[in-house]
Assembly symmetry: D2
């Protein structure tokens, strides 16, 4: 909901390819995000109440890792001091708010197998450290029961439909740049219960969403893949071919040609999992035939199955060719996918495996802070968790400006956070914000209710 | 939801007299509170974004009146500093969080006549002052449209039922100690549309909830009353008769007798509106017959209609006598109620009228801060708003310890806040908190989900 | 030093009546204020270091009473949050800075009899409370030794001279509105060692400086008075006679006449100590003869010894008449002064005694916070300390606007602070600031060094 | 003064080799540090007052570079929020306190040629940036005049003496790890006025203090050197030879031998300035003859003049051999020293020159923040200033643990600060603190005044 008030559109598609009711899905929907916000902040209130009420666990107020969340774009909540006003108003300390999509509770909900697993994961959340440097989990605060009660209904997947009446499950929304980025295990299971295959969107580029889909979601839940679709657009290829934002509207087959190195890298990356992709070129109104042909010829030359999709204009009819290729691939596929790393590998090896195979990096550098974090991970026994790398979605590298297929670069790790409840280590590269801000002219200023209809959402 | 995690029970009744589904109503329900939280905090985000993005309106960051809200008991959020961390993370300033029930948006939703009125009221919210001391409203920030969109569904009343299937509308929940304390005008209108009379609960004592029901809700919306029920309990009368909390379980007719001065005061107060009450004595398991008789005889002697109600044990059957008295009163009532004051009276006269007629005060004192606030109210032209007095619910006076029927006291006004959207002036007496805290042993620690059922709520 | 950068002049006199070297005395002088600042802030550093290093004494960070000081007018330091930035940078808590003249160390230095007494008093400073609500003193932090070392040289009085070569001791500078307001006991003793009488200036009106001189300094140190001079000016009398600031330059004998009620009150107040004042009218250039005559006749009529002094223009020669009256009074005086109260009286009686006899108040009101403070004073056993009332210097009452001789008013006490080291209770009335601010056009902007000479000080 | 309360000894020497009066020099001395503190904080007060009083210059409160200083070890002041408490108490913003030795005013005082130059430098101080990103200097706030007035006496050097009566000038004290680290230009000039040569101590290793002495102080003031003494100790050589702290007391000639690589590096570094050093081995009580011989032989073999000094035990007599070597060197020296870089070189070249020639680094890396800082330096036209590199004194590299003579390492620059008044760019490497903390058992706890003498200082 927060980003809808800023500059981003919602996540329900557009044109003839939409799920409905879009404005409900984009705002309160069934209240899942609100429930996650509530459960997250209840834990925060229990922590601060514990500090205030004798602090039996000797929690160090300066080393509480658990922040608060709100589903709003509000940069001024990123860094706050709470507990001010005197001895009856809590204990002063520094903390902050993230957006709800960045809540560890969001990731937990999406990875939980069932209510019992959800409860166990909530209990494992690492909330902070004692003065004696001992880790303190949510279980020690007796928080999971009430959190679970607040999440009861949110744990159920939500069934919606496309404009053409095709069922779709919308459940959970962890960001793919700072979390694992795909919908819930429970929703996928439910879909597989009613259909031979379930399609999962793993956002923000194959290097971010899909890698985590394979190595965290599927590896953790014992799911396998039947086919992989790599979505491309002429516009993005031109951007990777060096065209500035303002000129992307102009036909430029040569730029598309140059941008294909980026596509090739993703095709290779998919191969690293033992998969063979189908490339779907998502057609836009202003794409020129020549530009599309560049991509088609390139794929054909490389032996990569390829389809132009036109569902934005035509709905399901526009994606039939793609559907045929997908079914063909799914029916002929023989063996399970191959994860990039074994969860039991040493943490730096796991990070290096992703950085090399997915980003094309030469190596990985660690700041001193990150090295200290790695030592903490080892001391606390969390080394067996998979790695969830937070990286910019604008480049294969960790520098947003580097387009195309960067090479010869090192990824710099600035910190490693333990999401013991979600069950992964968040590996921070670059400057990743967990709470967005509003632009100078936020969309909220033009959203309105007219004759009972919400207008102005993008 | 917040208080359910602390020490208080929910608001759905108990025993045979309950509305269901109780645990849903007490937690997320239909999401109205979440929508109010979202709309409230969106305005806050727009304010801080405005400060950050050039501050065209020259808002003084130190004079923003609009705080944030969360539906959680969290004392450490009462006073916070936001906007820390450097120039890209907003503008540092002091603010805080209230509980959602204390949000002005809550009061607005409950007093709005329809969507158009809701929009207009949202626009009138006074968010703060410019460096030049000019008031700035939410309209100037183009916030009401998006807030209204977020509140669209919350504006619709929610129909639930009692255990016996009687319909009940649950809509809105402003606190009666710091806000006007009763459900929405729209819900009351909807009820009246389908029934001859609608029963409204106005909580926290006649001096708080009911006074505001008459002078703010009814006077503002053009509603009238048909009958007034004053609910009494043996336990509360004993407390006003001087019995300490620990001894309230022991039968003590003499203490009940002594406590009747408090009941008498409320009966008189009702008379100040030109109404004649029916006293309903809500029977509890351990009430002794002798105690009940003390009350009955006193009412009969004073000519006040009286009924013992036993709905907790018997459901509707336990309140039939009361129902008969109410219907009798409603059918014979001739003229509309008489407000305590005219909205156009000077503000101190309005406050004095309530303090004398409702609290039994001798007079009203103002701190220097309150005097400055009154001067601001006059300067800004808000003198014609009714007064919503925030006072302790533990005493008729503004001192929580004074039981029974205090007299000869002055009420001290510490401040006056302008709720221009809700359309009233909040007059602060004593130490009223807008954000509760959790107790040392919060209920949340024992709430849980067992076999899909939420347990541990009170 | 701080106020010299703002709007106030220094404290060295002017015209022919000055002590020199003025610009040194007003700035760094012999470093006494710097030493007090250093000793004060060393204790603050030891407190925060104690919180950081295991907190053996279980000091509650929210209940530290000891703030920091700087000799600068800097309003933005009044309320600060320290200890931010993470676990290696201290413990977050709210505190603030006062100006050095408001430091309890300043008061202690001025009241100490010798180094041993200074050490004992430093040790008795109440720095805060433990989580168990036990008082913690500076002794518990082993701070007094190092503080005393830093104060070694500051404890020695400083000998300067007037322009005419008369010796003067300048030693210490506690504010008279928030502290006891006169120079050190040691300096007075030193002066009395070399002369028959020592003249002490007790600033900010007889009701502030002089009352504390009698009841705190003299009563505590066993000093007695030989004569009391009450300094009046035509300008101040006109102000008390109702003339606005802008018109004080105009001759107005009638206004002087009206303002004499204020003078009369001070004469009466002096009588409350068993003293008989000499009124000295400090002549200003633009005083008219008629105005002066009004005062002279009034004093003669009342039998009060009176002299016009003209030392600003004439130096010592201008004060010879006054000097004769003073010597005459001092030589004939028979018995010691009579304090307003006995230190062992109950605290409210001590406050009432001052409020009635000095301010002309009807009574004393206490806020709830002040009542709680009084209960703390009793609980901790500090009830036997004298009271140091912090009050505005602009009125005999606690409301700055009330000129002349207010009557029928109550003084409102907002809080009581324990200065256990100084050995008095600070009784707060009105809004007394302990840290001044700079004006929009501070003097500092025009202070400069020209050819080695400091210019621009007032 | 601050460090004397913590764990460090003062700076006046020990044994027979001391300057006196030590306890005065180490505490308040002549008040120079207090004057610097006052001048520094006056500018801070003027800045915050400007923000509060209309902010004519449109200073962005989030981009004020000027912090406050206190001469106390107080970690909890490193990061603070000021201006809290409401609109009359300033503007909320983040800032902090450094120790006085880290004040830019300290560096300015030490580099100023005279009062006029001091004034000009104070005026050039970069206090922050406007909302429009324009730099704002102290001149714009009319601060230099008053600051200069406060510094008038502090600008004069202070003459003290050794225990043997040799005159010594003690003037200024900028840290050598974060500032340029040597005494004032004025003191050096004064000394040279009365003697053929003046000896300057440049602390914290040749790579820190001496490099800045050459490239900043001498190059800026047009001073030249006559001879360079490199002081070594057996203890430090053993440490660089790999001996842990606890074992340094044990004779270990082999470890001394291993540690000589560090000495060799410094000898080479001195050569980079075109100088030839004299090595002075400062004898300690427990040094073994064998250890000393290792050093002597090594120097003789390398042709480096060498003397063992024993002034701690013998006073001046213990340094006669060294004195002879120095005089010999000074009298035969032919040409001026050669700076490591030209001030007009590009900033990265200047940094690289120091890193290679002094630290033995392979290269220099820049964080993104540092790159942004370099761009700002260029934008604002400060590229022609010399570089003052803040680096750990525990290693030649920027990592404190690396002993001996590290090689093959890169120095990482984390930020570049503009000290426009001092006239250099502070280049930050590693984690350099500008405000020390106290240890768990601070020296202050055992400092005391006994019979008028200060005891317990180290």
């Amino acid at each position: 909901m927060g980003p809808c008030m800023g500059v981003k559109g919602g996540g329900t598609g557009s044109g003839a390819s939409q799920i409905v009711p879009a404005e409900r899905i984009n705002l309160h929907f069934t209240g899942d995000f609100h429930a996650i916000t509530s459960a997250h902040n209840l834990l925060a209130a229990l922590i601060d109440n514990h500090l205030h009420s004798g602090n039996r666990l000797r929690l160090d107020p300066r080393r509480i890792a658990w922040r608060r969340v709100l589903d709003v774009n509000d940069r001024s909540l990123r860094n706050v001091v709470v507990g001010l006003g005197g001895p009856v108003h809590g204990v002063p300390r520094e903390t902050g708010f993230d957006i709800t999509a960045a809540s560890e509770v969001m990731a937990i909900l999406c990875l939980a197998q069932d209510a019992a697993d959800l409860r166990a994961r909530l209990g494992r959340i690492l909330v902070g450290f004692s003065y004696e440097n001992a880790p303190v989990t949510a279980d020690r605060l007796h928080a999971p029961g009430a959190m679970l009660a607040l999440l009861r209904d949110a744990l159920e997947p939500n069934l919606v439909q496309t404009l053409e009446g095709t069922p779709a499950l919308v459940h959970g929304g962890p960001f793919a740049n700072i979390a694992h980025g795909c919908n819930s295990v429970i929703a996928t299971r439910l879909a597989l219960h009613r259909a031979r295959w379930a399609i999962t969107e793993a956002g923000f580029g194959f290097d971010l969403g899909a890698e985590k889909f394979f190595d965290i979601k599927c590896a953790g839940a014992g799911l396998d893949t039947a086919a992989v679709v790599l979505v491309a657009t002429v516009r993005a290829l031109k951007m990777h071919g060096g065209v500035p934002l303002a000129d992307l509207g102009r036909a430029d087959p040569a730029a598309v040609e140059r941008g294909l190195v980026n596509l090739d890298k993703h095709v290779e990356s998919i191969g690293a999992f033992g998969e063979r992709p189908i490339v779907a070129l998502n057609r836009f109104l202003h794409d020129s035939g020549g530009e599309i042909e560049v991509v088609r010829r390139h794929c054909e030359k490389g032996g990569v199955p390829f389809a132009v999709t036109d569902h934005h204009a035509q709905g399901g009819a526009g994606a039939i060719e793609l559907a045929r290729l997908v079914v063909q691939q799914a029916e002929t596929r023989a063996r399970p996918f191959r994860p990039l790393y074994d969860w039991q590998d040493p943490v730096p090896e796991k990070i290096l495996a992703v950085a090399r195979a997915m980003y094309g990096a030469r190596g990985v550098l660690y700041t001193r802070a990150a090295e200290r974090d790695l030592a903490e991970v080892a001391r606390l026994g969390y080394g067996g968790l998979p790695v969830c790398i937070a990286k910019t979605q604008n480049s294969l590298s960790d520098e947003p400006q580097r387009r195309g297929r960067p090479s010869g670069f090192d990824v710099t790790v600035r910190g490693v956070q333990i999401n013991a409840g979600a069950g992964f280590l968040v590996v921070l590269t670059g400057d990743i914000l967990r709470m967005p801000g509003l632009p100078a002219q936020p969309l909220a200023e033009s959203i309105d209710l007219v004759d009972g209809e919400i207008v102005g959402l993008r």
